[in-house]
C-alpha cells in the first residue's frame, strides 16, 4: 500500500470505519512511514480536540419552552431539559 492510498484511508482509520484487514494494513504502514505518521497525528489531534475540548452550550430555556409548546403543546419541564 503506497502513501497516496494510505492518505485516503487515514480519516476512516481514525474513525474505525475500515475493515479489519485494511485497518491492519494502514497500521503496518504508519509504523514504518514517518510522513504518513505526521498526517495521522495531525488528523487525530484535530479529531480529539473537537470531540474533547469544544465547549457545548445549553439551548436557552425560552427556546426549549417555545418549541415544546408549538409541537407537543406543553412546556412542562421534562426529558428535553435533561440532555447532557
Amino acid at each position: 500500500m503506497n502513501c497516496k492510498i494510505v492518505s485516503e484511508f487515514i480519516a476512516p482509520y481514525i474513525n474505525l470505519e475500515l475493515s479489519d484487514e485494511t485497518h491492519a494494513q494502514i497500521n503496518t504502514h504508519l509504523e514504518k512511514c514517518p510522513n504518513c505518521k505526521i498526517e495521522y497525528q495531525a488528523q487525530l489531534g484535530i479529531c480529539r480536540l473537537l470531540s474533547e475540548k469544544l465547549e457545548r452550550l445549553e439551548a436557552h430555556q425560552g427556546l426549549k419552552e417555545q418549541i415544546m409548546k408549538k409541537t407537543i403543546g406543553s412546556n412542562k419541564r421534562s426529558l428535553c431539559f435533561s440532555e447532557k
Binding site: 485516503e8 476512516p12 505526521i38 489531534g45 470531540s51 457545548r56 427556546l63 418549541i67 415544546m68 426529558l79
Partner: protein
C-alpha cells in the same frame, strides 16, 4: 403508526425533543449567529413534528433531525452566502499542498461580533473560518460522532466523498490550530521529526 395524537406527542418528546441542546450547538456552529441558530432549531423542530410520520422507528432520530437542520440551513440561510468553489471532494491532495490553499476557507460568512462573545475560543474561531461543507462534516463526525453511513445520508452524498471531505477538513483545521493543538498536548512536536 401512532394510535392518536397523544401517542405521537409522547414519541416526539422522548425521541426528538431530547436532542434540543445538540441541535442548538450544531445550529450555532453553522450560523455563528445566536438568533439565526434559535430560528434554525425552531424551524427544524416544527418540520420534524409535522413530518414525524416519516421518521423510521429504530433508526437514529438525532441523524434524522440533523438532516432536516441541514436542509433548512441550506434553503434558508445559505442562499445569500457565497457558494463554495468548485471542489472535487474525491481527489485527495498531498497534506502540505492542501493546508496552503486559501480556497477552502470561508471568510465571507464570518460574523466577528459573535466570536467576541460566547464562541471566542480558538477551536470555534478556526471552525468558523471553514466553508460550510467542511464545517458540517466536522460537526457530524468529530463533534457528534455520527457513523460515515449516517453522515452520507444526512449530507446526501457517497461515503467516499464523506471520507475525503473529512480528511480535507481536518487538515485545514490543523493548519489553523497546529500551535494550539501542540500547546494543549493534542499534537507533539517530536511527531513531526
Amino acid at each position: 403508526m401512532w394510535k392518536n395524537i397523544d401517542e405521537k406527542k409522547e414519541a416526539f418528546e422522548s425521541e426528538a425533543l431530547v436532542h434540543m441542546d445538540t441541535l442548538y450547538n450544531g445550529a450555532l456552529k453553522l450560523t455563528y449567529n445566536e438568533e439565526d441558530a434559535k430560528d434554525l432549531v425552531q424551524e427544524t423542530y416544527f418540520k420534524a413534528f409535522r413530518f414525524f410520520d416519516q421518521f423510521e422507528p429504530g433508526t437514529s432520530c438525532k441523524a434524522w433531525l440533523f438532516k432536516i437542520l441541514k436542509n433548512t440551513f441550506i434553503n434558508k440561510y445559505r442562499k445569500k452566502a457565497k457558494q463554495p468553489e468548485h471542489v472535487d471532494y474525491n481527489t485527495v491532495e498531498p497534506f502540505v499542498e492542501i493546508i496552503k490553499d486559501k480556497q477552502y476557507f470561508d471568510s465571507d460568512s464570518l460574523d466577528d461580533s459573535i466570536l467576541n462573545n460566547y464562541l471566542s475560543d480558538e477551536i470555534n474561531e478556526a471552525l468558523s473560518k471553514l466553508s460550510y461543507e467542511f464545517r458540517m462534516i466536522l460537526i457530524l463526525s468529530d463533534i457528534e460522532g455520527f457513523s460515515y453511513k449516517e453522515i452520507a445520508d444526512i449530507m446526501d452524498c457517497p461515503i467516499g466523498t464523506i471520507r475525503s471531505r473529512l480528511s480535507r477538513a481536518r487538515k485545514l483545521m490543523f493548519k489553523l490550530l497546529s500551535k494550539y493543538a501542540k500547546q494543549e498536548g493534542y499534537y507533539r512536536e517530536e511527531d513531526e521529526e
